[in-house]
Symmetry: C2
DNA sequence: CAATTATATTCGAATATACGTATATTATGT
DNA sequence: ACATAATATACGTATATTCGAATATAATTG
């Protein structure tokens, strides 16, 4: 469903020669956005944090306890997730509650969870 | 569909205290596998290579030409993708053809493509 | 306002990643 | 066997990432 459009676009690039055409530029821009997004997810602890937050919102302290990580470590990784707009925060007194920023992201994390955390049949 | 199981498991972890329980170990192991997989995808050029290979198998030279990258760069990124079992190769004379290693991976790349390369409505 | 709790930030060292130049390998044609 | 084409690897340097220790901020309580 998504491939045919790409296929045609890139065959055109091929004919345009090695200098960057507008289409290739566009594609590279998208690839950069996508890789930024994936980099934000590409860390053991950040993935675990996201999985926990997919269930429900949680405070930093809860996350520390569940994952047995040090406070600055958790806070740093959460900062990264905030920076890339994967999570949002809500303050209640001293406590800050984190949650997943969008349904899209929840869905995406769900896909990864299904791939790696269920059914012993096919790892990847 | 995938979240409830995770939820219960992790609430149990929480009660087990900060030392790593077998379940948490297991979860962390999965998170590591998943992050390895995502790291392999988390690079502008590698994503572009995977997109091109989702269409059809291609030689290293084709990939170089389309993306206007140097030969060692392409070869190095392909080596990384090979190492993480995202692509497979087939030799025909001097030429080596690369293709996507599995339908799962093709589907996953498709999801990313849909998120970042279609519809101006929602970026992420 | 001082003490405490919850969270965030800064900084530095260790480690990992990316990419270019040079060189190696593998197969083909003469 | 030699030259050439296609691809792969080694290696060095530049840059990015990670994580811990120390410190800072923000809100609450006495």
């Amino acid at each position: 469903m998504s491939q045919p459009a790409l296929a045609r676009t890139l065959e055109e690039e091929l004919r345009d020669g090695p200098e960057h055409s507008p289409q290739l530029e566009e594609l590279m821009k998208n690839a950069r956005s996508a890789s930024d997004f994936l980099k934000a997810l590409s860390h053991e602890n950040r993935l675990l944090l996201l999985c926990l937050l997919c269930e429900k919102e949680r405070s930093v302290g809860e996350l520390e306890n569940i994952l047995a990580l040090r406070q600055p470590t958790v806070s740093q990784q959460l900062a990264r997730l905030r920076y890339d707009d994967l999570v949002t925060t809500r303050r209640d007194g001293k406590t800050i509650y984190y949650s997943i920023a969008s349904e899209d992201i929840k869905r995406f994390v769900g896909v990864i969870y299904d791939m790696f955390c269920t059914s012993r049949k096919d790892k990847k």
